[in-house]
Assembly symmetry: D2
Homo-oligomer: 140 residues x 4
């Protein structure tokens, strides 16, 4: 499916509609196969011991699939998270970014499902896995 945005356009659009996430996330790559996003790990994302918090990992998975849906449907799209499953496999490494590789498993008329694998920067060991389902309300 053709992309409605390229990486720079999507970065600019997310920053505009979603200003809270601008300092937390960056898009590394976007193409027809999927998206690679990054949590710009900072003090506020950490738990005691230096590990990245669960809510920060959730946020990374959620924004990755949201960005992917927008990249296909363009700026008019509404999309609301309806379901999430999240498995934590390993402790993320302290002090490094978390990288998410997400792809769409389904992009239907009313539901989109994305699958996300998360890694500590520079490692190929899976830290967490998530599936996010978005409901896409009909255009008005």
């Amino acid at each position: 499916m053709a992309l409605a945005f390229d990486r720079d356009e999507l970065t600019a659009y997310l920053a505009e509609v979603f200003p809270q996430v601008r300092e937390d996330f960056a898009i590394d790559a976007l193409d027809e196969g999927g998206i690679t996003m990054r949590l710009l790990t900072a003090e506020r994302h950490l738990r005691p011991g230096g590990t990245v918090s669960g809510p920060s990992m959730f946020a990374l998975a959620d924004v990755s699939v949201y960005a992917l849906v927008l990249s296909r449907l363009g700026p008019k799209a509404l999309a609301v998270t309806t379901n999430c499953s999240l498995d934590f496999m390993r402790k993320p490494q302290a002090g490094v970014d978390v990288v998410a590789k997400a792809k769409l498993l389904k992009l239907g008329r009313s539901l989109a499902v994305g699958d996300v694998h998360m890694f500590s920067q520079g490692s190929d060991k899976l830290v967490a896995r998530s599936t996010m389902t978005y409901s896409i309300p009909p255009e008005r």
Copy 2:
């Protein structure tokens, strides 16, 4: 199962081991049946339109089950989230706290499973539902 902490002790203990959450959450009630916790909704938890963000809801569910496990096992307990499922049913109301009612479905030797129902303060309509599984490593 007897409680290892009462509400005030648990509040104090969480504030000590988990300082990042002190300003975000409060324990409303704790007894042998479960726990009621509250997200002290502030600007940083919101999305455009004033709705409470998904990561904030995840964080509320996660800390509620963690607090519940601690309340049973006491301060020596380690507990690590291994799995989460989360269903979003309705938009939370803008500008009010989110209240979570959590109970333990299982507290085994190596796994604890908690169920969480979340509501906007003052409403009995379910906003979201979550199940959180914690792994409890053996004491050393």
Copy 3:
């Protein structure tokens, strides 16, 4: 929400549209609060050791929520499972039926979400818990 079927009507309707399940399940109770269904445990539902199989528990959860959706929307309703989460808490007792208590957490225009708690007949200990999401295609 008013019921489109009572228990006997729903039993008859399910037997008609879903003949494969007639010998496996029975409706114990149906009212506006929810449904109680039962797996009529037989040899074919068991695993070695006499425990009820995971797929049989899945089937019980799935049919309970499907029956609940039908009981609200009536015989014209289409409903397709899109997502399931399932937690297994305890081994079901050998040689007894499994009882499911299900209620709807949401019945929207395009999605229904049901929550199911499963017990061994005669016990109040939770054996498994499930959330099932059904997509409801628009009527044609």
Copy 4:
């Protein structure tokens, strides 16, 4: 991680300990990267309209991850499903086998997590996706 069984040994072992599944499933391939299993679709797995039932898809995902855990840990291993998430993306094609490709995301001392993608035979369109968590009790 080295394999404790090759494909033929695993097929024989599953048939011995799990006779109920012998007629339902076959192992197509097994190597260090994962397993490919197949639901030998028959009348008893179908729903009205000829589609493969949800419980049959659950069973395929569950047995695939179980077989994968056994292939690593050998015949002494116990493994009990504790959690499942399952997303249904598309209707399976009528009258053909369902093929599952599963791999282990984690094989820890007490938990194993497997990821399963399911397809209709001969198609590369994802029909369903599942994550299965198994608890591995300590050897006695």
